[in-house]
């Protein structure tokens, strides 16, 4: 996170910069704004608490992981997701803000999908919760569309040379969810266990779904 501490040096005469000297300390700035809006009866601080609590404890990537696990387990559900992701995802109870219009894109042996919003931070809140800082930051937004393999390498993902990369720029209100390829050696696992293998980043396309832990001396978790 970067914060500006140098605003005292700014030229305050420029019309468009009239607020700059009040952005050096965001804690104070936002506190003042909340105080003002509360005094004016425009906001309810308890509503802010409720919003924060919702996204800290209720709406997060576990929702999306359950969608993916069901898609891996249930071919009919996977077909429904391809045809009408909004309805299929809503059937699991995941609806609402920034998930009003959903589209699921499936990774295959041939193609890897990556999601970005080059223009702002569009992201499927209803299935992934709030976006991480890197998703909203210029480095990702600028490079995902021109150098996705380079971006993926920074996440530790190296795609085979022959694999196609498909980048989806969320320029409208459609929110995308990547359905990763199901890892090998996951036969017989139930949806709950499968969901444990699905990271948030895998559902953006910035990671691949994890493999189940293998017990014994060959466990890469132990020997790595």
């Amino acid at each position: 996170m970067r914060h500006r501490d140098d605003h005292a040096d700014h030229d305050h005469d420029h019309h468009d910069h009239h607020h700059d000297n009040h952005y050096s300390d965001m804690q104070a700035r936002v506190k003042a704004l909340e105080t003002l809006l509360t005094e004016k009866g425009l906001i309810d601080p308890a509503a802010i608490d409720a919003i924060v609590e919702t996204y800290e404890t209720k709406v997060g990537p576990r929702n999306g992981a359950r969608v993916v696990a069901k898609a891996w387990s249930d071919p009919d559900f996977a077909e429904w997701l391809k045809r009408d992701a909004t309805a299929a995802i809503a059937s699991l109870g995941f609806t609402g803000r920034q998930g009003e219009h959903m589209r699921a894109v499936f990774n295959t042996a041939d193609t890897h999908n990556l999601i970005v919003c080059t223009l702002c931070s569009c992201y499927p809140w209803s299935v992934l919760g709030l976006p991480p800082v890197w998703y909203k930051a210029p480095a990702y937004r600028s490079r995902a569309v021109i150098d996705p393999r380079g971006v993926l390498a920074e996440f530790g993902v190296t795609l085979p040379d022959g694999k196609k990369v498909r980048v989806w720029d969320s320029t409208a209100e459609l929110r995308y969810l990547v359905i990763p390829e199901r890892p090998e050696q996951t036969e017989g696992m139930d949806e709950e266990a499968l969901a444990d293998l699905v990271s948030r980043d895998a559902m953006i396309g910035a990671a691949i779904a994890g493999s189940p832990k293998i017990s014994g001396a060959g466990n890469p978790e132990v020997t790595a």
């Binding site: 704004l33 009003e100 080059t118 490079r143 569309v145």
Partner: protein, 219 residues
């Protein structure tokens, strides 16, 4: 507009910096910034398109130096003043000095769950049939409006293929400026990387955007 927000293909921002087990918030004020932004959105005074335009109107040096929730707060400041909810003096002082615009509603704690669950769908019916069909080759328009648009610069005057007709949706270029929702057909348009990035482009890469009908021309 060609604002600082339109980042696709720009260079020089360095590597992506993923954090292990990244927290949702990195400071207490970020939580309040999220809540204030959503609460003010509930006034019903502006649309998501107008709020996006407010953020992209932040001067580039400020936008690029700001953390994300700071961009939100700068946008909210602009909207509160523009719509008469708070004067600049009040915003600078942090205290009420006068009455202002009365919102359509104030979001209270008991309303939060319902409002978040409902969201704000923006699909709207249109009378006309789609102009373009799946598989058709189209060209995006070359324009540089000073007003809001959701056609990124890198995807202007480029030739691509209609992959899907997504339905009809509120047109942000009008809706951001109080000109009405004026829904249009929306298409997923796919471009080869070579068409967008030219020489040296990754031959295995395709990029798609969701484009409103008026962004597109027949080839």
């Amino acid at each position: 507009m060609n604002g600082p927000h339109d980042l696709g293909g720009q260079m020089g921002f360095g590597p992506v910096a993923p954090e292990v087990n990244e927290p949702y918030f990195h400071a207490e004020w970020e939580k309040r910034a999220l809540g204030i932004t959503l609460s003010c959105g509930a006034f019903g005074a502006w649309t998501i398109d107008e709020s996006r335009h407010a953020r992209e109107s932040i001067p580039p040096a400020d936008y690029l130096a700001a953390s994300y929730y700071e961009i939100w707060i700068r946008g909210i400041d602009m909207l509160l003043e523009r719509h008469g909810f708070a004067s600049r003096e009040e915003l600078l002082s942090g205290h009420k000095m006068q009455d202002g615009t009365v919102p359509k509603r104030v979001l209270t704690a008991n309303m939060v769950a319902g409002v978040l669950a409902k969201g704000g769908p923006c699909d709207r019916p249109v009378e006309t049939a789609p102009l373009f069909v799946v598989g058709e080759t189209v060209k995006t328009k070359n324009f540089n409006p000073a007003t809001h648009t959701r056609l990124p610069r890198y995807a202007r005057a480029k030739t691509g293929i209609i992959e899907a007709v997504q339905g009809s949706f509120v047109f942000p270029d009008d809706n951001a400026h109080g000109k009405g929702e004026n829904p249009q057909w929306l298409y997923t348009v796919v471009f080869d990387a070579g068409e967008i990035w030219g020489e040296g482009a990754d031959p295995s890469l395709t990029v798609s955007i969701d484009a409103w009908e008026s962004y597109l021309e027949r080839v």
